[in-house]
């Protein structure tokens, strides 16, 4: 990385990945800009020691997860109220495409998506990071293990455990919703 122009190119090439990963990991659009900036500044500082042992993207994922973890710690210190991923003018789930679905299905799907996001934020940091890297970023077990500096077996276990927790939470959520709907209809 010899010049600023090259670094600008690196930022430009990876900014979308950093923004969406941070959004999913922190569950909030608040300070997203600042956090993404922090990721790239850390990358820049680490570049002299980057010896090309791993892909730049893997290295960047590691920094992104670290920045998200620092943000969680900061929030815990500040004891801030949880802000939803959809706290903007409109939630990003609204803009997800559901081709050939009727309005009711779309609403149902949106609510389900929102429930997933909420429960995702209740998982442990490592489980959430692994789920996001695996499903959203489509990273392999090896790449996740490398990015998070964990054994592959641990990655698999966390992924399985995280999904199980999410599934159970969603099942409870759905049962509760059906019970409420049934009570109000009576």
């Amino acid at each position: 990385m010899q010049t600023d122009l090259t670094f600008e190119q690196v930022v430009s090439d990876h900014q979308a990945m950093v923004f969406r990963t941070l959004l999913r990991l922190t569950g909030s659009r608040e300070h997203l800009d600042d956090l993404a900036q922090e990721v790239f500044l850390r990358l820049y500082r680490a570049l002299p020691s980057f010896r090309g042992e791993s892909l730049l993207t893997t290295y960047l994922y590691r920094i992104t997860v670290n920045v998200a973890q620092d943000e969680w710690k900061r929030r815990r210190r500040d004891d801030r109220t949880h802000i939803s991923i959809s706290d903007d003018t409109s939630g990003w789930e609204d803009r997800l495409q559901h081709p050939s679905r009727n309005a009711e299905q779309q609403i149902e799907e949106r609510e389900f998506q929102q429930a997933v996001e909420e429960h995702l934020q209740r998982l442990s940091q490592i489980e959430r990071a692994i789920l996001v890297l695996y499903h959203q970023e489509e990273r392999s077990y090896e790449q996740i293990a490398h990015a998070l500096n964990l054994p592959i077996g641990t990655v698999r276990t966390h992924l399985h455990r995280g999904r199980k927790k999410l599934r159970e939470a969603l099942q409870t959520h759905q049962t509760e919703e059906r019970r409420v709907a049934w009570t109000t209809n009576r």
């Binding site: 600023d4 122009l5 670094f7 600008e8 190119q9 930022v11 430009s12 900014q15 979308a16 923004f19 969406r20 959004l23 999913r24 997203l32 800009d33 993404a36 900036q37 790239f40 500044l41 820049y44 991923i85 990003w92 789930e93 803009r95 997800l96 389900f112 998506q113 997933v116 995702l120 789920l131 996001v132 695996y134 499903h135 959203q136 489509e138 698999r156 992924l159 399985h160 999904r163 999410l166 599934r167 969603l170 099942q171 759905q174």
Partner: protein, 114 residues
Amino acid sequence: MDYQPMNQPPSPPAALELDQRLTRALEAVPEVRIPADFAVRVASQVPARPVVSLTQTHYGDYAMFLGIVVTLAALFIFGLHTSDRRTFNLAETFLLTDFIGLTVWLSVRRHSLR
């Protein structure tokens, strides 16, 4: 990415459907709004790399020369003033090794710098 569950019995259809919906939800990529000038802004904030001086210095060489002279002087002083043969041998061997080592290292280094 298709999720392969770990050694589990086949799930009933409802659980399977929930699992598929969960995978779809997790795979949904959030839409983000990135400021148009983000890359430029970040690149402009990175600290400038310190300028590396390309002027060659010879502090190490000078120190080596000084070391050789001091070792040589010490050898002479030991030779003139030490009466205890055992102590003399030990000190002489140490200083002589030091002297030879420094001389060889410096001559090889100077040769390689040419």
